[in-house]
């Protein structure tokens, strides 16, 4: 069910302790900063967070991690020059890390949205990230079995939404948004602009409204 919501606080109010939360964005592009801040404020804890990175600087996801609200990160690239909050928690053994090659991360999220129970991919074969995983020789290559990543909630950022919840994005800020919207049970979107139904060309819609639950406009 689609709801247009006035504040980011109300938009994230239903997120429960222990949830798996997908957060869009690659670096700062496409990060739903206002929704992450609202998640910080709403108090939900014991979270598993799916994001490409593990927070940067002293804002957004990095703060959630610093405050001990994230028990596990599923990501491809946690270590960055400014990932000090994650680094500290990780070294202290206070956060769990599931490190996933970025393409596996994307494909596993896509699989969850598309109803695929698992798939074989050559990525990671023979590496420590495939240790203990089932392997199979297919299409002339050794491949590794990977499973979908489901989520309770996705927090994503789009450029525009129409009255049916259809979304379009902007440039490389699109990144994980469309696949996370499809993979989560409940998708919360912050947009820069709301347009009337019929205000988006049906040919250019990237995320159909069927994948969207809460929409909040952020100034």
């Amino acid at each position: 069910m689609l709801n247009f919501i006035d504040t980011v606080g109300e938009a994230v109010a239903g997120i429960q302790d222990g949830s798996t939360v997908m957060i869009g964005g690659f670096g700062n592009a496409g990060q739903p900063f206002e929704l992450i801040d609202a998640l910080m404020d709403c108090g939900a804890t014991d979270l598993t967070v799916v994001n490409n990175n593990a927070g940067q600087g002293d804002q957004g996801l990095a703060l959630l991690i610093k405050e001990g609200r994230v028990k596990k990160m599923i990501c491809s690239f946690p270590r960055q020059s400014d990932s000090w909050h994650f680094d500290a928690k990780f070294r202290a053994g206070e956060i769990e890390l599931e490190l996933v090659p970025q393409g596996n991360l994307a494909e596993r999220i896509r699989a969850a949205g598309a109803g695929i129970g698992g798939f074989f991919t050559p990525t990671g074969y023979g590496t420590t990230l495939a240790e203990g995983k089932e392997t199979r020789f297919l299409d002339g290559k050794w491949q590794v079995f990977e499973t979908p990543i489901h989520a309770d909630v996705a927090l994503i950022k789009a450029l525009k939404a129409d009255g049916k919840g259809n979304l379009v994005y902007r440039k490389t800020a699109r990144n994980f948004g469309p696949i996370m919207a499809a993979a989560a049970k409940h998708t919360i979107v912050q947009v820069s602009e709301l347009v009337p139904t019929g205000g988006l060309d049906p040919e250019v819609i990237v995320t159909p409204g069927i994948y969207v639950n809460n929409i909040v406009k952020v100034a």
């Binding site: 393409g103 420590t128 440039k171 490389t172």
Partner: protein, 221 residues
């Protein structure tokens, strides 16, 4: 004149920019290419328009242009290294699963990556030093190593301690197995494959001098 000297094409080792120029020159016109973070990014400075190369960035774009400067900088338009870039005519955007489908489906002609080590048979180690206190980060390296038709590596041949990064067997954790086809270094260009290592050209050394630095058997290409 010995065979060795015939493949020496420079009287001194190549600098990073000269090496980037050489890689750029070697890319077949019309190719679709992904340039990894760091040294490989330099290659984009030397691609000629008439080569008609299309650059892919893993975060969802084909037709990436040069680094953005001044008013061009747009936080929504960045490359895999999170650096603002520009868009060329004919560019396209897509989501992450579609972007990695391009990489993993074997559609990229070439990716150029940095490396900690490359083995004689083309194994690549470029994501993790294996140090017990290191926080690992892999990004798209394994997808590129496994998916691109050709994987070129750019690196200095030796570590700061003077140890060859071209090795018999990688001691660092692997990124991909048997995936590297060429290794561009300051001292030589190596062709790697199931049959071992051949040297295409050397810079500032003979093949014999190169062999003294590298613990795997070399022969001229």
């Amino acid at each position: 004149m010995s065979l060795e000297t015939s493949i020496q094409t420079s009287d001194k080792p190549l600098g990073r920019d000269d090496l980037a120029r050489l890689v750029a020159r070697d890319i077949t016109p019309g190719s679709f290419v992904n340039l990894g973070i760091g040294q490989p990014t330099l290659v984009s400075n030397y691609l000629e328009p008439e080569q008609n190369i299309t650059l892919h960035t893993e975060n969802g774009m084909l037709g990436m242009g040069p680094e953005a400067t001044g008013d061009q900088i747009d936080g929504d338009l960045i490359n895999a290294g999170k650096i603002p870039v520009t868009e060329l005519p004919g560019a396209s955007y897509f989501h992450h699963a579609d972007s990695f489908a391009i990489m993993r489906g074997g559609h990229l002609d070439i990716c150029v990556l940095g490396a900690f080590q490359v083995s004689a048979t083309g194994d690549l180690a470029n994501w993790h030093t294996g140090a017990p206190d290191a926080i690992p980060a892999v990004g798209g390296a394994m997808d590129l190593a496994t998916g691109a038709k050709d994987v070129f590596v750019m690196m200095t041949l030796l570590t700061r301690e003077g140890v060859s990064k071209l090795v018999e067997t990688c001691s660092y954790p692997l990124t991909g197995i048997g995936c590297v086809t060429r290794v561009y270094t300051d001292k030589a260009v190596f062709l790697t494959g199931p049959d071992g290592v051949r040297v295409r050209e050397t810079f500032g050394c003979t093949l014999e001098e190169l062999q003294a630095l590298v613990p795997v058997p070399l022969k001229a290409a």
